[in-house]
């Protein structure tokens, strides 16, 4: 998943190796970090109801709805925060919204 980076930040790195001040010196390195682990609600995609209208895709603030060849796929739960915006937007009730862990 990791692209070409000036620096690959990993959890086993020493403080000596990291950019000072916590600066992000690679644009778009958010995909290297799993930031979805504190989600309390979870969107559930229902492919049977989905019409692939793609109205959900542009509203996700975390780019957690991957699209390939013009079709959405299942959520990227490493980055989805469970905000529920996609749930509200979907005109076909093709996204369920459930408590995480249930």
């Amino acid at each position: 998943m990791t692209k070409e980076r000036k620096m690959n930040i990993r959890e086993d790195m020493s403080w000596r190796e990291m950019p000072q001040g916590g600066h992000i010196i690679d644009a778009g390195n958010a995909e290297d970090f799993k930031t979805g682990d504190w989600r309390s609600m979870r969107p559930v995609w229902l492919p049977d109801k989905c019409k692939q209208c793609l109205l959900c895709w542009p509203v996700c603030p975390d780019m957690a709805i991957p699209v390939e060849n013009g079709k959405r796929k299942d959520f990227d739960f490493d980055h989805c925060k469970g905000c529920g915006i996609c749930v509200e937007v979907c005109p076909f009730k093709a996204i369920d919204f459930v408590e995480e862990g249930k």
């Binding site: 990291m18 000072q20 001040g21 600066h23």
Partner: protein, 393 residues
Amino acid sequence: MAIKDKLSGNEAIAVAMRQIDPDVVAAFPITPSTEVPQYFSQFVANGQVHTEFVAVESEHSAMSACIGAEAAGARTMTATSSQGLALMWEMLYIAASLRLPIVMSVINRALSGPINIHNDHSDSMGARDSGWIQLYCENNQEAYDNLIQAIRIAEHKDVQLPVMVCYDGFITSHAVENIELIEDEKVKAFIGEYRPQHYLLDRDNPISMGPLDMPAYYFEHKRAQAEAMKNAKRVILEVAQEFEKLTGRKYGYFEEYKMEDAEVGIVIMNSTAGTAKFVVNELRKQGIKAGLIKLRVFRPFPFEELGKALSHLKAVAIMDKADSFSGAGGPLFTEVRSAMFDYAKDTKAVSYIYGLGGRDVRPDEIMSVYQDLLEIARTGQVKSTFNYLGVRE
């Protein structure tokens, strides 16, 4: 040839800023620091500097603007005092942790309350754990010299930390003294061009600053910040050596005054060191082996060097112009005594808090401290460890 002049502390700082010609100055007026941005804004209006002067609506905004400017890649300076520094509080920590080498003059004034505009060190002492380097100055010459050195220290690649240059409100800031200035072009050559490694306006290398830092990384970033402060110890001496070559004026972590054979001594900061040196001279005339240490660098703290410098004394008084309300002495006392535990175990140490809210400190009062120390040296007994000097009991 150096330029001889007569300037107040605030004028000297403004002149140094003109010579440094920073890219951005963002400041808000507060007594007794007001004159610094006031004089400097005249240089801006006259076209003597190329600086973008940002007149903000509060000190919180002043420091925020400085952070934004420095992050963008601009050499940035400001000045404040007392409540102004207190209002900057949260931004001070952010400037240091983002590793932004902002240089700020802190014209020391008592913190409210009760409200008081006169000198003590409660403002900068309160910011001692904010991650800023702190240099303290006895007089106008030192304020001028330290400000110029501060640029080099702050911007050094192994440091990259903000610096406060602290001097006493009114006593130093408003009193006119003889001063030796460095020629403009020599200052320019000494400080050099500012070339940050990472900055926001570098469009070929886009970066983000100040993102959320989760438990997996925050500690490492703080550890790196702590290392930068350790590195500053070395860099401060390197810059001082270069500065001495330029001016002949010598700087270290602290000044030792008649300490070689001293048996009793005091540790003190800023302008009262001048009064205390007069007292040391009087005592020396009577054959009493008195000495003095004037601390210049409080952050980073010269733990080992200061501890060792006190090891041959029989008794030392550590004098704080700020109380930390711990019930156990001021901040300087606590740290110096901690160093002495490792390096000067046999020297008796006592704390004196003095001069709060601009209370005058007279030579006879400093003399009484030395008399107390001589008594301790003679008897080996400390009657009172925590003392207040010059207050009506």
